[in-house]
């Protein structure tokens, strides 16, 4: 299998604090890989390094064989990132926003149009896409942004808390889209989430992360079986308890 993500001994230090303390993991093509952990565990920092926004203090990170430090522009052509707190340009319509974003990935109008059509289907927002995004609800904006992330069919989609703060209807729609898109087009997805139900539904494998370190990796079923738990929430609490007791 082709490795889309390789992360080795990743360390990120901020003044007075070590956000990542030697993280190592790999993700294969077509996998949906989840990073699970409490607030401040280092999930977003890991995602931001992979998305070329911030640079690691030490360690090695590659996406599809490209070093994120040395080949950041090439990496940006392969990824599509949905931050946890993301917005769209409030004075542009949904369609204008999608066109603006798609135009960076394609050189011909036909491909741009195809990407926009995919985004229209993914978002399910229909005619509302003609309105300014300032009129959108939080759920609608998140659907637009997920559509923007997936419409370019990236090699790697990086999704930070994709359904955070959304009601059941919008969250359900987004999860179904992520799952089907990954399956249908073989898109590798790296996802971070607090929602264990979401993680169990979406992820092929997960890494449990706490205080900047990965403390366990495996498929949801493997982990539940290993720790004799009925769900990932219990697994996480048990693993964190072990880690803190060790």
């Amino acid at each position: 299998m082709v490795r889309v993500i390789v992360v080795r001994d990743l360390v990120k230090e901020y003044p007075g604090r070590r956000a990542l303390d030697g993280i190592t993991f790999e993700v294969e093509e077509g996998e949906v890989f989840g990073l699970i952990g409490p607030n401040g565990a280092g999930k977003t920092t890991t995602l931001r390094i992979l998305a070329t926004i911030i640079k690691p203090t030490s360690g090695y990170v590659e996406v599809c064989g490209k070093d994120v430090l040395k080949e950041d522009m090439e990496v940006r052509r392969l990824i599509s990132y949905l931050p946890e707190e993301a917005g769209a340009y409030s004075n542009l319509s949904g369609l204008e926003y999608l066109r603006f974003m798609a135009s960076f990935y394609y050189n011909d109008e036909k491909s741009v149009k195809s990407a926009i059509e995919r985004a229209i289907a993914i978002s399910g927002l229909g005619e509302r896409l003609k309105e300014k995004t300032s009129n959108y609800s939080k759920g609608m904006r998140r659907r637009l942004l997920l559509a923007r992330t997936l419409m370019v069919r990236p090699k790697l989609a990086i999704l930070d808390e994709p359904t955070s703060g959304l009601d059941v209807t919008h969250a359900y729609h987004l999860r179904r889209v992520i799952k089907s898109y990954s399956k249908d087009y073989g898109i590798t997805v790296l996802i971070s989430s607090h929602n264990m139900l979401e993680v169990e539904y979406l992820c092929d494998r997960v890494a449990l992360i706490d205080q900047g370190r990965i403390i366990e990796t495996g498929s949801p079923d493997e982990l539940k079986s290993k720790y004799s738990t009925v769900n990932l929430e219990d697994t996480f609490m048990k693993v964190v308890g072990f880690a803190q007791g060790s």
Binding site: T52, I53, K55, R76, G87, A88, Y89, N91
Partner: protein
Amino acid sequence: MPKGLKLLVIKEVKDLLRDPKILIGMILFPALILPIMGAAINISTGSLVEKSSGPLTIYVLDQDGGKIAQKVMGFLRDNKVEIIVLSGSYQDAIRNVAGGGVLMVLPEGLSQKIESGTRGEILIYYGFKDFSILESLNAQRVSGLLSTFENVLVRDLISESAPSADPDSILNPLSLNEKSVIKGVAQPISPYVLTNIVRMQGLMGPLVIMIVLILAMQVAATSIAIEKEAKTLETLLTIPVSRLNILFGKLVGSVTIALLATVANVFAFTYYISSITSQAISSIGNIDLASVGLIPPPEGYFLLGLTLFGALVSALALALTLGTLAKDVRGAQSIIGIVIVPVFLPTIFLMMGDMQTLPASIQAALYAIPFTYPVLASQSLITGNYAPILAGLVYMAFFTLFTLYIAAKVFTTEKVMTGRLSFKRRSP
């Protein structure tokens, strides 16, 4: 223009122009409010002038009853002044101007004094009711009329005592024929009139430059902060476009909006200034500078354009760098509030005075500010003194490159995301 940069500039201009704060606050509001202010000033000044040139009444208490008293009243009547002659005491007379108006008291013996060659005195009482500009204008009008009467009286007295003499030759034995030498050619214009016209016409350049720079800096500094606040920056930094293109996209977008705002402001400001100064200019003579050899040469305009462009780019690079480090829009605005001080300082200093007359320390400080050079270039259009401008251009080029380098450095690192520059005191 690279495709990514073009996309970013189009987005930037579209997004900014659709922002009501920018469209109304920076373009439409100044374009409307300044002409409205100018029109309001025009209307009130016009009606004031009309009223102050209307019928004027003067109460006169004639205690003299002589020839001079008759002469002064006759003169005033000839100049469309209604004279109401009072009788009785001075205390009774002054009551007439308690609610406004003018009382002239011609004391006993006035005519005798003047005719015998000694100075006489006329008492004028200006009654103030509401301390309005009209009351002040009326007082000036009476004062002016009596001053003219004094001139007439002097000439009459000279003619009476020396019938063969020309009163004007006695009063003004010297005639001053003043000329201003401009670029070695004597021009028939007095130095005071020339200086006033040059100052008046040179006022616009620095003011417009100041407006352009301040507007552009505000747009540039807040454009990154808006992306941070709207949570669009994080996504923008991960799309396949170079950080430098994002930076230049912001620069070009800000310049475009600033230029649009400038056009609106210049038109509005020109109308405003012409509304409030039209009378002042006509009073000193509306003389075309070109007719006295003060035609700004093409190289002057070229240098002005260069310095303005340099100042604009360095101001924007500075504003973008600082705006990038701000946490949010409010933070960016507070930073710019401080940074614009060196933008308007040269304008204020050089609008009111000359560089050469300033203390050496202030001159050095002004020369260190790149935004001084467009103001100097604007003045050199008339003076033709290009040497400091050329030296300034070299300095500005270095300053701009250095600021752009810093902006690019900040933009290509994670500081663009993690920057937290603020002038607010941090809580412990």
